[in-house]
Symmetry: C2
């Protein structure tokens, strides 16, 4: 099943995505039992981030090739970081590059696990069962800020720097998938989604030793590779069996151009 | 006015805090226009964190004495970081020290600004007007983990490591207040709350150059000093004109002792 959130009359509404239509739902399917309250044609859907998480977890270096390229040690245990909800934007919405950004401005294609239940001290089996579904994230990064600043506050969390979507797919073996990154239709990278140092269940087991995960929390799993993006580009991230997250890139102040 | 959130019949309910009673409210006073829907005696109130923020911002080194003690350079611009909602707990609830924590386990008394409106590209006047009110935070930290880990995930964000409350005070000149930290009734520190390198409005102006703040977002302003806490202790943080945030410390697995 594919679940999304749409903007309908200025409100965020959950939806179940079919081939031609999206059925609108009365409440969240993550921790509720929604009824169908309407339908909109899929072609006219205005996609929001498919969930606004209570906590937005993100993994850093987690792909062997990315780690080798960065010249950093391979992590010996799963350590998670954070991103911020203000930066989320949906499928089809623009990534806005701030006027002040200089240097490399990059896309990072990531698998995202969406947590479906409350859990602490999870076993690996419980960690597996806790994932409601999978979506796609683009961990857009301004590298000069990333290197200048003590935190990732503006390098990775400026408004629109975290596209997520288009929907949550509940029926896919995400770790057997292929991630493909395209800019203006040209393939820039393609890699085995599951070729991770620590997989999502390793993280969930380790994290829940000390913290409680809640329905709707998201865990972004890191990227194998990055590529430059510039205003005027369109960035597509495809994860096979989930879908395609597509976002145009615009320059701040020229969002309507 | 003082606004809190209480646990009532297993639900989180907003309240307006009076001398002897708490009036229960139909919705959030931060961005709504609540009606009074009931009353509970203040003495029996079960306090929750006074707000669950969309984004949980936290300042690091921001007091000259703390910076001098740590031997780090004085920040030349306001850079914000993050904490995680799973770690929040209310006034009166226990701080649970994990069995695995070794070394210094410490309290950090902090002023917290609660944002009341949506804003971006704020002027200093707009930043001032955007603060709905003020509360108190305890940025509990496990130092060995803080030094071992690449992120603050478990050192500062394990469950119960972020007591916040007891309420949001809307009518106080928080930057003219005094912060006092007590353990088992003994004063461990007392400092001018407003003796900051960058004040909350400096942060809001800088942050909103690149990100949108939303109603309910919180900004923890850093601590001037810290002190050790251990299971069996009770930690009180008072900020004059706001109130007292009090939490017992328990050892994990002995929460019922």
């Amino acid at each position: 099943m594919r679940y999304a959130r749409l903007s309908v009359g200025g409100r965020g509404v959950w939806g179940r995505v079919g081939e031609t239509d999206v059925e609108l739902l009365s409440e969240s399917p993550v921790d509720g039992r929604p009824d169908v309250i309407g339908t909109v044609p899929r072609a006219t859907a205005d996609w929001l981030p498919p969930v606004v998480p209570p906590v937005f977890y993100a993994v850093g270096m987690n792909y062997p090739r990315h780690i080798a390229h960065a010249g950093v040690p391979v992590p010996d245990r799963p350590e998670v970081g954070y991103r911020a909800n203000n930066a989320l934007t949906g499928h089809g919405s623009p990534i806005v590059k701030p006027q002040e950004v200089e240097g490399r401005f990059e896309a990072e294609p990531e698998l995202v696990a969406v947590i479906g239940r409350t859990l602490k001290h999870a076993t690996r089996d419980e960690a597996r069962d806790s994932v409601f579904g999978w979506t796609i994230g683009n961990d857009v990064s301004a590298r000069t800020w990333q290197h200048q600043d003590r935190t990732f506050w503006r390098s990775k969390n400026s408004d629109t720097f975290k596209p997520m979507g288009p929907w949550i797919e509940t029926d896919v073996d995400a770790l057997a998938a292929t991630t493909t990154l395209r800019v203006n239709g040209e393939t820039k990278a393609s890699f085995a989604t599951g070729d991770m140092v620590f997989d999502p269940f390793d993280f969930i087991v380790e994290m829940t030793r000390h913290l409680t995960l809640h329905p709707g929390d998201v865990l972004w799993m890191g990227a194998e590779t990055t590529c430059r993006i510039e205003p005027g580009d369109t960035v597509d991230i495809e994860i096979s069996g989930i879908g395609v997250l597509s976002n145009p890139v615009l320059l701040e102040g020229k969002e309507q151009a």
